[in-house]
């Protein structure tokens, strides 16, 4: 479990990135922090692995204040995926993936065989292992970034807009891959994005942030869509946008879900086990 207890961050130049933020993240839960730039979401994420130290309050993992932990050991125990992949350009894909296990003292041979498995887990051809990052596409680099984060088998995975820099088709692909991986591995994931659709897709729970790390609303995607707390949330989730206000139309005996512009979004299936009632 990860707990933020009244954390705040004020930089030496006086700017306040986070005012006063509290949140508990259960083990094996995927929580998405979503907000525009300036919402402090990345700052909050980086407090978990001590890439940023809070000015006030504390961050605890399983009840232990991270401020008391050695930052290097802490970081080696937490997977971290960043936007620009952050791979080491002078090392092969395989060496990038084995970085953390080797730092932790795993033998190179063992780390390599595990790395090859991981490449498959993230949907990469192990034949790419000898390549250098610059020889891969953006999407492939992000997959390597995910494999690297998973390499030391961490309980916690931090993801900072990992799919922000790839094109929409690749992004959709990576998101599905992420869902599959999470179903398989059950990590505690803290995911940061400015894309509300991505947040709703990947998050068990979504935390919507206003500037300064103020929580506008948190809950499951369903809860937020069903009852947006205020106008800020309503406009952020696009509750009034055509694609989110759906209604049902009956066409040739089947019930079709249609958005506000009349575009078909899908077919409404009867609830499992029960007959449809009109």
């Amino acid at each position: 479990m990860i707990a933020f207890e009244n954390v705040g961050k004020t930089y030496p130049d006086g700017t306040t990135a986070v005012e006063d933020f509290s949140l508990e993240i259960a083990s094996h839960e995927a929580v998405v922090l979503v907000g525009t730039s300036g919402s402090g979401k990345t700052t909050l994420l980086r407090m978990i692995n001590r890439m940023v130290d809070p000015s006030r309050g504390r961050v605890a993992i399983d009840g232990e204040d991270v401020a008391g932990l050695d930052p290097v050991r802490l970081r080696r125990s937490i997977g971290y995926v960043m936007q620009a992949s952050g791979l080491l350009p002078h090392r092969s894909v395989l060496d990038n993936v084995t970085t953390v296990p080797v730092l932790r003292g795993t033998s190179r041979r063992e780390a390599r065989s595990r790395a090859l498995e991981l490449l498959e887990t993230v949907g990469l051809d192990p034949a790419l292992a000898r390549r250098y990052p610059s020889q891969l596409s953006g999407g492939q680099q992000q997959r390597v970034g995910v494999a690297r984060a998973l390499a030391a088998d961490p309980n916690i995975l931090l993801m900072d807009e990992p799919f922000g820099a790839v094109d929409p088709i690749v992004r959709a692909d990576l998101q599905q891959e992420m869902l599959r991986i999470q179903k398989e591995l059950h990590k505690t994931i803290v995911f940061v994005t400015h894309d509300i659709d991505e947040a709703f897709l990947l998050g068990d729970r979504v935390v919507l942030l206003r500037p300064g790390g103020v929580v506008a609303q948190q809950g499951t995607p369903q809860e937020i869509l069903a009852a947006p707390a205020d106008d800020f949330v309503r406009s952020f989730v696009g509750a009034d946008r055509g694609t989110r206000t759906l209604h049902v139309e009956e066409i040739e005996g089947r019930r079709i879900v249609v958005d506000a512009d009349g575009r078909a979004a899908g077919v409404l299936e009867p609830p499992a086990g029960g007959a449809a009632r009109a």
Binding site: S77, Y80, A84, P89, H90, T99, Y132, S134
Partner: protein, 221 residues
């Protein structure tokens, strides 16, 4: 033209290529002084430069100091140190160390600074220690720039090492100063040509090293 030919003839004279005080001996002395100057300077300047580049702190004072060091006339330094420390190798080598430090410092800190800050940030976030970031990320990626600094320093020093002979040491400068004193211009010019040739060879060799140390994978983007 005649003088140049005479100088080349002076170099080509086989009697000058063996025995004490011959061209190979002076050449080796010259190289040795260069190595001493650049080597000692590197021991000081490269760690300091890497520290400045890695921490991004203290760049201002370091740039100011190396700017000031660059402005010092080496002949003046050799004379001054010679008066202090007496005839011998210590005085000129000290002057060469001061001459070499600015280029080495600049090469070392720019090697670190040239590395994408996001790459360094990612390495830190993976759990590398600061030492590991320096030795496994910044130095390998910035190595060509670091070697570039060594090359500049070596070329500057090799061209200046002839001043060592000015206060009684060996080196190719012996031919130049002897020629000057005896008005033996072919000898003087011959010595100069050898210094120029040596500088060119060192420059070329270190350029090759720069190219060989370019990190694989980083070139294609």
């Amino acid at each position: 033209m005649t003088q140049l030919l005479e100088a080349l003839a002076w170099i080509a004279d086989p009697t000058r290529w063996s025995g004490p005080g011959s061209i190979p001996v002076r050449l080796l002395e010259h190289l040795w002084y260069t190595l001493l100057g650049v080597g000692i300077a590197a021991l000081v300047a490269i760690p300091v430069g890497l520290l400045v580049g890695h921490t991004r702190r203290g760049r201002g004072p370091v740039v100011a100091l190396s700017g000031a060091a660059r402005a010092l006339p080496t002949l003046g330094l050799v004379t001054l140190f010679g008066l202090w420390l007496g005839i011998g190798l210590t005085a000129p080598v000290l002057a060469f160390v001061i001459l070499a430090i600015p280029s080495l410092l600049a090469g070392a800190y720019s090697a670190c600074e040239a590395v994408d800050p996001r790459t360094v940030d990612a390495a830190r976030a993976q759990g590398m220690t600061e030492w590991q970031i320096l030795t496994r990320v910044e130095v390998p990626l910035g190595l060509p720039l670091l070697i570039g600094g060594v090359r500049l320093a070596a070329v500057q020093v090799v061209a200046t090492v002839m001043l060592a002979s000015y206060i009684g040491n060996g080196g190719l400068g012996r031919f130049i100063f002897l020629g000057l004193n005896l008005s033996d211009y072919p000898q003087m010019l011959g010595g100069s040509i050898l210094v120029v040739a040596l500088a060119l060879v060192i420059d070329l060799a270190l350029r090759l090293v720069e190219r060989l140390t370019a990190p694989r994978g980083a070139a294609r983007t």
